[in-house]
């Protein structure tokens, strides 16, 4: 079932086109990543989805509701999680969340219950009753995630949430998002390749306002090269390299990295074992999304 449909969305700022005829749809429960460098148009697009920016043309529908026309229905069903979020510093985390709760029609009791539950989920227990001006950026981002989940929305829009976070906080936030996969429809923007790779079912790659690729992370990587890179450690790497050249091309001799396709893996191992070499480790090097970007850049 389709949760989100974006059709021919264009956003112009004067003569500059920030989003150029973007169309895609997101299935219910899917985690969809919008990936791109700064200025690619992903934040502009997510602001359009959030109803904060009107598209110059095109339509965005969420569960059949038009984001522009039926904005209130859409916002009631959507949670927004923005990177570098800000809150009223002299209010506590709970008070700031209460504002959001009231806006979504929650009672005091419901807000308090949800806040306690979510604080536990994001590791912010014992801090929600402190003023947010005392929060670190990691705590603010966690609060932002709590705000987005407070009214138990069907769709979660996440914009650069882990930017500027320390490793631990980013890991926790990613874990929460990962746990929500399948339960909520998530659209996230990021320029962290590993994050999109780990979290997203599909990735839309944006470049200069256009959606230049829309595939699963694996399919995207396959686009970059038609072979896998196999890094091997054996009892005699020099001899192993000599044998490997008979089967496949080498990426490098030290460390020994072979470019293998399909059945070549099988053959290579037969050769190595047949020659009495001891295989100590095997590591499959997948293409990174950085490589995907480079490839897309070349195509452009």
């Amino acid at each position: 079932m389709e949760a989100l449909r974006i059709k021919n969305v264009v956003k112009d700022y004067g003569s500059s086109r920030a989003v150029d005829s973007v169309s895609f749809s997101v299935r219910k429960g899917e985690c969809f990543g919008l990936l791109g460098t700064n200025g690619a148009g992903k934040s502009t697009l997510i602001n359009i989805l959030a109803g904060l920016l009107s598209p110059t043309s095109g339509t965005v529908k969420m569960h059949g509701w038009d984001v522009e026309e039926d904005w209130r229905e859409v916002k009631m069903r959507t949670g927004h999680c923005f990177g570098f979020s800000c809150y009223m510093g002299n209010l506590t985390g709970r008070q700031n969340l209460r504002v959001m709760g009231y806006a979504h029609g929650l009672s005091d009791r419901e807000v308090n219950e949800r806040v306690d539950e979510l604080a536990e989920l994001v590791d912010l227990e014992g801090k929600v009753d402190e003023r947010t001006e005392k929060y670190s950026s990691g705590m603010v981002q966690k609060l932002s995630l709590m705000a987005a989940l407070l009214h138990d929305p069907e769709v979660l829009l996440v914009d650069e949430l882990t930017v500027g976070l320390d490793v631990e906080a980013a890991k926790r936030v990613r874990q929460v998002l990962s746990d929500l996969k399948g339960k909520k429809t998530i659209v996230l923007t990021t320029h962290y390749m590993a994050e999109a790779d780990a979290l997203c079912d599909r990735i839309g790659l944006m470049h200069k306002g256009k959606l230049v690729a829309l595939e699963t992370p694996l399919e995207l990587k396959r686009r970059v090269r038609d072979h896998d890179l196999l890094e091997l450690k054996t009892s005699d790497d020099r001899a192993a390299a000599a044998l490997a050249t008979k089967v496949c091309d080498l990426e490098s001799k030290s460390p020994l990295v072979c470019r293998v396709r399909g059945e070549q893996v099988n053959t290579l191992f037969k050769y190595l074992v047949g020659a009495g070499l001891d295989i100590r480790s095997v590591h499959l090097r997948e293409p990174t999304l950085e490589e995907v970007f480079e490839k897309v850049g070349e195509m452009e």
């Binding site: 502009t44 959030a50 904060l52 009631m76 923005f82 959001m100 009231y102 979504h104």
Partner: protein, 249 residues
């Protein structure tokens, strides 16, 4: 519920600023009552003059408080960079304005009570016609709301550069509204402008005890409120189209 969200945020934010509250709600009204009271009682032995000038000063202060309170909610969103979060919530424009007006109502009522108590305690000023006085208060609140909404419009259209205008606009209007002096002392062009200010009719109504003049002022205030409302709707739509709502972040 969305009105409650905005009102809660603004009122909680205000309550946290105890020092500002002391200055805005107690010290400033006290200073104003003492200065105007002493000035007039020194210049004339007529007790009616003190009553009139202090009533006018109090009511003007109340109108300015209401106007500031309405627009300050928007400015808080600019200062705290919370514009994106605020408008990502399912807030109707009327919820936002009414929520901020709730702060205006609380602030203006408190200011009214404090200044009236000071005026009575220090200069023996007692309001003789409560109907006219409270009617004027209500009318000034409506006009203050209209001016406050226009302040939001200016911020949306011009950006943060429009902030200073919101602080001085009511003080500018006091000059042409005949609050402390009759209109006849003003130059002709200013007198002409004064006819478009509902505040001029309100203070004339107090001076002459004429409720009809107050009704004219009230009607004009409502008209300005409607105009301001539609201007705000237009400005918000334009800000959304131009991306200004996001850029305030």
């Amino acid at each position: 519920m969305s009105v409650k969200a905005v009102a809660y945020r603004q009122i909680m934010h205000m309550v946290q600023q105890k020092e500002h509250l002391l200055v805005d709600w107690v010290l400033y009204p006290l200073t104003m009552v003492v200065s105007f009271g002493l000035l007039v009682s020194t210049l004339t032995p007529d007790p009616e003059a003190v009553v009139y000038v202090l009533s006018a000063a109090i009511l003007w202060r109340v109108a300015a408080t209401f106007q500031t309170s309405v627009v300050i909610g928007f400015m808080e969103d600019v200062w705290h960079e919370t514009m994106r979060q605020t408008w990502a919530m399912p807030l109707r424009l009327r919820d936002y304005v009414l929520g901020n007006s709730a702060l205006g109502l609380v602030s203006s009522l408190f200011t009214l009570c404090v200044t009236l108590v000071f005026a009575w305690a220090l200069f023996g000023v007692v309001v003789s016609d409560w109907g006219l006085f409270l009617g004027t208060y209500a009318m000034l609140c409506v006009f203050g709301a209209a001016v406050g909404i226009m302040g939001m419009v200016a911020l949306l259209l011009v950006g943060e550069g429009a902030q200073p205008a919101n602080w001085v606009i009511m003080d500018m209007m006091v000059l042409a509204s005949g609050v402390f002096y009759p209109l006849s002392v003003l130059p002709v062009p200013v007198r002409f402008v004064a006819h478009f200010l509902p505040t001029m009719y309100a203070f004339l109504a107090i001076r002459q005890g004429d409720a009809m003049l107050l009704a004219i002022g009230a009607l004009m205030s409502l008209c300005y409120l409607v105009v301001a409302w539609y201007a705000l709707k237009h400005a918000l739509r334009r800000a959304k189209a131009q991306g200004k709502l996001v850029k305030f972040h």
